[in-house]
């Protein structure tokens, strides 16, 4: 099976700063990939390159196509939700459905209408009359009714309340995703997506600093809660991060033998958020 996204030495410069610094990537079908990084790390630039919305240097193929020259063909197989506010404000709900049904060969009107029936959206409403959450419901109904191979989500739930956010990912997982599809998602609310991800990509200063499946993350990284008397022993093993809580130290280790760590204290699976903080420390200093 060929990779959905394959990048080799992908680079993009804005003036003197490198938004992407020779990135190598391989995303297989049937994965849900979280692309996570601090603000300005190059997440959006990477997604834009994948979607053919920006020029770049290096090699990049999406579903076997060059997104710079084949954006039109690519968009038959690829969908994206850029962020919550991109549906045109003058568009009516019914017009949106008619238009996408008219131009997209892989759109199912029946499925879209079934999805819309679950919401409070009315066909005559214009986007400008909708709340942010309802706009996302509309956009998601449109996108989920498209049988695409790759779905790209760039901060899809930004500014939504927790009810809409939960619903968004639940719908995506229950009614959309299957082993034929691939989803790439960027978000700052990692804790909300980590249970649905199969793969994790950390990006920092235009470089991929972590590229692993969630299983590998679980094997590689371990968090240990250590009493003060063993703290120095723990530090000797070169933890990648250390924080204090209730007088104990919590250390995060990368690739250290579990048996040795268990001697120091209680072992935990680290959360992606903690892993992120550990990996990105010093980004803004």
């Amino acid at each position: 099976m060929t990779a959905v996204v394959h990048a080799n030495g992908l680079s993009k410069r804005y003036g003197t700063t490198a938004a992407l610094d020779s990135v190598n990537l391989n995303i297989e079908p049937g994965r849900i990939v979280g692309l996570v990084g601090p603000n300005g790390a190059g997440k959006t630039t990477a997604l834009k390159a994948i979607l053919g919305l920006t020029e770049f240097d290096g090699e990049l193929s999406v579903l076997g196509l060059d997104p710079r020259t084949h954006r039109y063909q690519l968009m038959q197989q690829v969908c994206f939700i850029a962020d919550v506010a991109v549906l045109p404000r003058w568009l009516r709900v019914s017009e949106a459905v008619d238009f996408v049904a008219g131009v997209h060969p892989r759109f199912s009107r029946e499925k879209c209408q079934a999805l819309l029936a679950r919401t409070k959206l009315k066909p005559t409403q214009r986007v400008r009359e909708l709340s942010k959450g309802m706009i996302v419901q509309l956009h998601l109904a449109l996108v989920m009714a498209i049988d695409a191979k790759l779905l790209v989500l760039d901060e899809p739930t930004l500014g939504l309340d927790i009810l809409y956010r939960k619903e968004f990912y639940q719908n995506l997982l229950n009614d959309y995703f299957d082993e034929q599809k691939t989803i790439i998602v960027t978000t700052h609310q990692i804790e909300e997506v980590e249970h649905i991800l199969t793969d994790l990509l950390f990006i920092r200063d235009g470089k991929i600093v972590l590229d692993a499946t969630m299983d590998q993350v679980g094997e590689r990284f371990a968090e240990v809660m250590v009493n003060p008397d063993k703290a120095d022993a723990a530090r000797a093993l070169k933890p990648i991060y250390e924080r204090q809580i209730f007088g104990k130290s919590i250390f995060l280790f990368d690739g250290i033998d579990r048996a040795r760590l268990a001697e120091l204290g209680e072992l935990h699976k680290p959360s992606v958020a903690d892993l992120f903080v550990a990996t990105m420390k010093g980004t803004y200093s």
């Binding site: 834009k48 979607l51 919305l53 920006t54 020029e55 954006r71 039109y72 063909q73 968009m75 038959q76 969908c79 994206f80 939700i81 850029a82 962020d83 506010a85 991109v86 549906l87 045109p88 404000r89 003058w90 568009l91 009516r92 017009e95 238009f99 996408v100 008219g102 131009v103 997209h104 060969p105 892989r106 759109f107 199912s108 029946e110 499925k111 956009h139 049988d147 299957d178 082993e179 034929q180």
Partner: protein, 346 residues
């Protein structure tokens, strides 16, 4: 498993649907109409209604004033005046009706100019500013199709709707005038309603749409190019660049005493880039100077302008085709920038 088999089923029905490029293009045109109903449809319709209302007010004023003062004109009552006209050459009256109807419709032409001008300036800019371009670009639409749909909307859809409003205004105006005539016991039918004549006039208006479109290409191209290229303030780009260029050319002329008259640049470049979407603005072209000079009275001139000869003169003029070629080149450039740019500053 269950989900997998369901997807298989829906994929089969999806594959059966046909999506030809023509079909997509007609959806793009519908999209333009949905977004710009206000400018394309409502603006000319409201203008037509306003002028009908003004006509009604005018007729009422004439009637009331005439009654109050028992108005006499060369010892003729007002109904006798119309009777007098009826006895005159009907053909003369027909031309008069043409002139009246066309000048009545001209405000709609002016509205059309402003609507199309600002439509084109915003066509490839507004969606970048509000970021909805990212939604359009997430659909399988090529940039060429998108830009061409805007060309067609500006060159054909907006003018066609404006002419429909004009025709409605003409009919409304003739009905009002006929009612006024009936009020004075005159049969309006032979005077105002000669169906062949009216249909001829309207067909000419419709037939001029493609001619106007070719003539407008440099303006359409330039405005779309600015709309596609500008990261902010497309209006400033569109106006400032040709105007500053015109001033520079004038200055160079002044310095070097070249024989090429300065007015040439303003007329052929600045004017065409900014104003040629004005319906019928080709009447000012060189080919028409002589035609206009040879016809003294406005009725004859109008006839000449709308005649086959004048269309032939325009169709064989370099003005038209050089401008059209420049317009096509600028549209191609607009497509190029549409592909490259997705950002704009508010």
């Amino acid at each position: 498993m269950k989900q997998g088999s369901m997807n298989q089923g829906s994929m089969n029905t999806i594959a059966a649907k046909v999506h030809s490029p023509m079909n997509t293009f007609s959806w793009l045109l519908k999209r333009e109409f949905w977004e710009h109903r206000g400018g394309f449809l409502r603006a000319p319709a409201i203008t037509a209604l306003i002028f009908l209302a003004l006509t009604l007010m005018g007729l009422a004023t004439v009637e009331l004033t005439a009654r109050r003062f028992d108005f006499n004109f060369n010892n003729l009552h007002i109904d006798q005046i119309t009777q007098h006209i009826a006895n005159n050459d009907i053909a003369q009256v027909g031309t008069g009706v043409d002139v009246a109807l066309l000048s009545l419709g001209s405000p709609i032409g002016i509205v059309l100019f402003f609507v199309v001008f600002f439509y084109l300036l915003g066509a490839l800019y507004d969606d970048r500013r509000d970021r909805s371009v990212l939604f359009w670009k997430s659909l399988p639409l090529s940039d060429t199709q998108t830009v061409l749909s805007k060309v067609v909307a500006a060159a054909f859809i907006a003018p066609a709707l404006a002419i429909a409003a004009m025709i409605a205004l003409h009919i409304g105006f003739l009905i009002l005038l006929s009612l006024y005539a009936l009020l004075h016991g005159i049969n309006p039918l032979p005077l105002l309603w000669s169906p062949l004549h009216l249909i001829g006039l309207w067909l000419k208006l419709v037939a001029l749409i493609p001619l106007n479109a070719i003539w407008a290409l440099p303006c359409i191209g330039w405005l779309l190019l600015c709309s596609s290229f500008a990261r902010s303030k497309p209006f400033l780009w569109a106006v400032a660049v040709p105007v500053i260029a015109g001033i520079m050319v004038g200055w160079v002329n002044l310095m070097s005493q070249l024989s090429l008259p300065n007015i040439w640049f303003w007329h052929k470049i600045v004017g065409r880039c900014l104003l040629s979407v004005f319906p019928g603005s080709w009447v000012n072209a060189e080919a028409f100077k002589d035609l206009a000079r040879s016809h003294g009275n406005p009725g004859d001139m109008l006839g000449a302008v709308l005649s086959l000869d004048s269309v032939k003169a325009l169709l064989t003029s370099a003005d038209l085709w050089v401008g059209a070629a420049a317009g096509v080149a600028m549209i191609a450039a607009a497509i190029y920038f549409r592909r490259k740019r997705t950002e704009a500053y508010a």
